[in-house]
Amino acid sequence: MNPEGLLRWFVAGRRHALPLLALLAVGFAAPLFAVIAFSFAPPRTFSPWQTPGLTNYETIFAETYYQSFAWSLALALITVIILAAICYPLAYGLAKVFGKWANAVTLVLVLPLFVSENLRLYGWILFFIKNGVLLGTLKYLFGIEPESWLFTPAMTIFGMVYVYLPFMLFPMTLGVSMVPRETVEAAADLGANRLQVFYEVELPLAMPGIIIGCLLTFVLAVGAIAEAKVIGGQSVIPIVHDIEIAFTYSQNWPLGAALAVLLMLVVGALVLVVLRRFDLDRILKRG
C-alpha cells in the first residue's frame, strides 16, 4: 500500500472509531482520571485541583479497611467457585445433551433475572424472614422454628450466585461447546475412563470459556453491593459498601476515591495473574 493510501485508510479508520472513542472518553477515561485525581486530594475536600498527597492511602492502611477488602474478595471467590460447580453440568447439558431443548432451558434460567433487583431482594426477605413465607409455614405446619438464614454472609453469597449465574453459564457453555465431540471419543477410544476424559480433554479444551466466565463473575461479584446490604443485612461490610459510605454518608470523596483505586489495582492484578497463568490468547488461537 502506498503512503497516500495508507493515510486514507488511517483517516477513515480514525473517523469510524470516533463515536466509540467519544463514548470511552466520557464514560470510562474521564471518571477514571477524576477518581485517581481525587484519591490524592486532601481528605474531605471537593476539588481535585489541589496539591496531591498520600494522606488518604495512609488512612486506609492505618485503619481496618483490609477486612472489607478481604470480605469482598472472599465473597467474590466463593461465589465464583459455587457458580463454576453449578454451571459446568448445566453448560455441558446446554452444549451437548439438551439439543433442541437447550433454548427452552436457557429461557427458564434467564427469565427470573428479568425481575428487577429490588423486587427480587425484598421478595427474598419476605420469603426467608422469621415468620415469613418459608419459616412461618414450617412453624404453622410442623411447629418447628429454625433460625432464619437472612442477614448472614451465606445469604449474601446465595444472592450473588443467583444474580451472576448467566455471566458464568453462557461463556462456559460456549467453552464446552468448543470441545470437539471426536476429541472426546478419541480419548475414550484410547482407554480413558469418564473422569480421565474430563480432566485430560474436556476441561482443558473448555478452559477459555470457563476462565472468561470466572473472571466476569469475579469482577462483578467484587463490585456487588445490594446483596450484602439488603439480604446480607450488613452482617459483613464489603469494600464497595465502604466506598459508598465514604462518598455519601461521610462526605469524604478523596478517601472513597483512594479505596476505589486500591480495589481496581487489587482486582486488576488478580485478573492479570489469572490471564497470564492460562494464556488465554494462545488457547483461543489454537487450531
Binding site: E182, A187, D189, L190, Q196, V201, L205
Partner: protein
Amino acid sequence: MSQQSILQLRGLTKIFGQLTAVDHVDLDVAEGEFFTIVGPSGCGKTTLLRMLAGMETPTGGDILLRGKRINDMPANQRPTCMVFQSLALFPHRTVGQNIEFSLKIRGVESAARKTRALQLMRQLRLPENYYDKPVTRCSGGERQRVALARGLAYDPQILFFDEPLSAIDYKLRKTLEKELKDIHRETGKTFMYITHSLEEAMVMSDRIGVMRSGRLVQIGSPEQIYSHPQDKFVSEFMGEVNVFDVRLNGDGRLVSNAVPGSFVPPRLPPDFTSGYLVVRPESMRFLIKADQTENHVRGRVYNEYALGSRIQFQVRAGEQVFVVETLRQQMIGGRRDDDVLIGWNAADSILVTG
C-alpha cells in the same frame, strides 16, 4: 478363514429412527488383514466402524472379537483403536503428549512413555525434535502421522481408519497410502479402513467390501472386485466405466435401447436375459476397420481430456456417451466432431445385473 478370524460380524444392524444405517452385515476379518470398506457417503460405513470401535451401540446382531461378543464393551475397554477422519488430535497437547496419551492413561511412567513415543516417531518418519512441538503447528501430513502413532501406541489388536486421508491433497495422499501399507506390513496388525475412494482401497487393501445402503454388496480381493463386479453399482463405483442396458436377443447377441447395433456377449451368467454391459475405458479402442474388434459402434467425438500419460475421449453413440481412453502414443484420429468407429472385444466386457 474362520479359525483365524479376529473379527466376526453377524447380522450387525444399526437403526436410527426411520433410517436403517447398517443392515444385517456379516463379515469375517482375518488376523493381520488390511480390510477396506468402500461406499458412497451415507452408505453406513462410518456407522459400521463406529459400532466396531464402541462409539455406537448395535441395534441388532453381534460383534465378535476373537470369538468373544463385545457388543456391550465400552470403547475405552476395547482393544481396538480408531484414526478419525478429523484425526481428533488433542489440540492443547504436544506431538509427544498426543502419542503418549494412552500410555499415560495406563499409568506408564514418563521415561518409558517417551522412549516408546520416540520409537513410533522414528517409525513414522517424524523428526525427533517434534516431540515438544504443539500438534497445532504440524502440517496436514505430519498430523496424519501423529494420529497413526497415537493409535499404534495404544497397541490395539485392530486399528480402524475412518477416511483419514480424505482431506489431504492428491500427491501427499498417494505417499501416505503407500506408507500406511508399509506400516501395516511392519506392525502385522489388523487394519480396517473405510473410504469412499475405490482407488484408495485398491492400493492398500488385501480385501475390499463394497457397501451400499447399509449392506455389504460384494466382498473380495481388489482383483476380484475390479474384474468381476457383482452388479451395476459396484462396476460404476470403480470410476469411469461404460455401462449400458442390454438384453439377450434370439440370435445369442446383445441388443441395447441406448446403443445402436448388436454385440457379441462375454461369457453369459446362467439364466441371463437382461442386465448391463460394462466396458472399461481402457478396453475401448478407436478402429480403422470394423472387424478389428468383435464389437463396434459408430459415434462422434464430443470432447477430449488429457490425463497425463493417457488421453480420454467422450464419444457419443446413440443415447450413450462412451468414454474411451488411449495411451498418448497410440492416439489415432479423433478430433472434436469427427465421426469415428470405436470397439471392444467381448472378453474385455462384463455382464452384470441391475
